[in-house]
Assembly symmetry: C2
Homo-oligomer: 198 residues x 2
């Protein structure tokens, strides 16, 4: 019954995480009913993001430059690297304000069920980075799930030859919990009590 | 810590109804991590909607033409008009598939608390439409809230000189409920049992 343009907008908004068909309709109406004040700014923001945001060639974070602002920040500890699963986990670590080194985004966890093997992760780039730069410590900040811990043990074997100290977030991370959903206090505790795994 | 482009995108996505800061971040990442498959289609859809969707000059529905497809459909009953509060309520009526006449979108309810008076509604256009066209019946499909019923009684007085039969959705609509949230069965029952108010 709606015009195809409205239906298509509702369809794509409904696919956003957290939205469904009903909230997709509400979001579409919110935009359509105030086109100048609600829709135009979103169009501009999404276009800007589309044109400028790219994957950091050094750590796989997202930023508006080839190398992200964290990699380029000379004030950050250049000898510590924190290995996270995803960009959202990197953002969660940054919000906790407990870490001032560099990052590396693996791009996922090993998962037999989802068919994600080592080749789907950015493992080659990680090993290369550890060979090229001089890191004193690598810290695993992976989810305390079965897949996350499996991933940590696998990646640890691969990077052990290139970095002396390898540690992991303390098990203040609730077992079964995902990093993106933790409060900052728990993340800070876990970072403070990180323990050696190799 | 994020680039300004990402922050702005998160900020605007967070304002969509049903989303907050956390789900706004998730939605932004969903788009940024699959730019070609997720972000590009949304940009196209939102641009198309922005350029084509306009308010129907006859009934205040939203469509890609000056006059919406419901107003232009010759198969619909041209002598019955259904008065709704908003476009989302019009969509809810259409989904219930129980009504085949025309519509008129008031654009809100009278509300002393929110400071919405008769001048903020499309009342002048409604009276004009009822004078210009020959309607046998006007059906109020307003929410069964205090504001909705107040609006019905006020608008009824204004349109009574121009249309013979004025009815309202039956009180199968649960008291305090809003139209957009009803299941189709309830809407069908309410449409079948509409009662005369003048």
């Amino acid at each position: 019954m709606n015009s195809s343009e409205i239906q298509r907008l509702i369809q794509l908004l409904s696919r956003l995480p957290g939205l469904g068909p009903r909230s997709g309709r509400r979001a579409a109406l919110y935009l359509l009913q105030k086109k100048e004040s609600h829709m135009a700014p979103l169009i501009e923001a999404i276009n800007n993001a589309f044109q400028t945001i790219q994957t950091c060639q050094s750590c796989f974070n997202l930023d508006s430059h080839k190398h992200c602002s964290i990699c380029l920040d000379p004030k950050r500890d250049q000898h510590t690297i924190c290995i996270v699963e995803s960009v959202s986990d990197l953002w969660a670590m940054e919000r906790s304000n407990t870490y001032r080194g560099l990052y590396f985004v693996l791009g996922g966890n090993l998962s037999a069920i989802q068919g994600i093997g080592p080749d789907q992760l950015n493992l080659g780039a990680l090993v290369q980075k550890l060979q090229d730069q001089d890191f004193q410590e690598a810290i695993f900040a992976l989810s305390a799930t079965l897949d996350g811990q499996t991933t940590m043990h696998y990646v640890r074997e691969r990077i052990a030859p290139y970095v002396k100290n390898i540690s992991s977030l303390a098990h203040g991370v609730p077992v079964g919990g995902e990093l993106d959903y933790l409060d900052d206090g728990t993340l800070t505790t876990a970072m403070t009590h990180r323990y050696k795994v190799a």
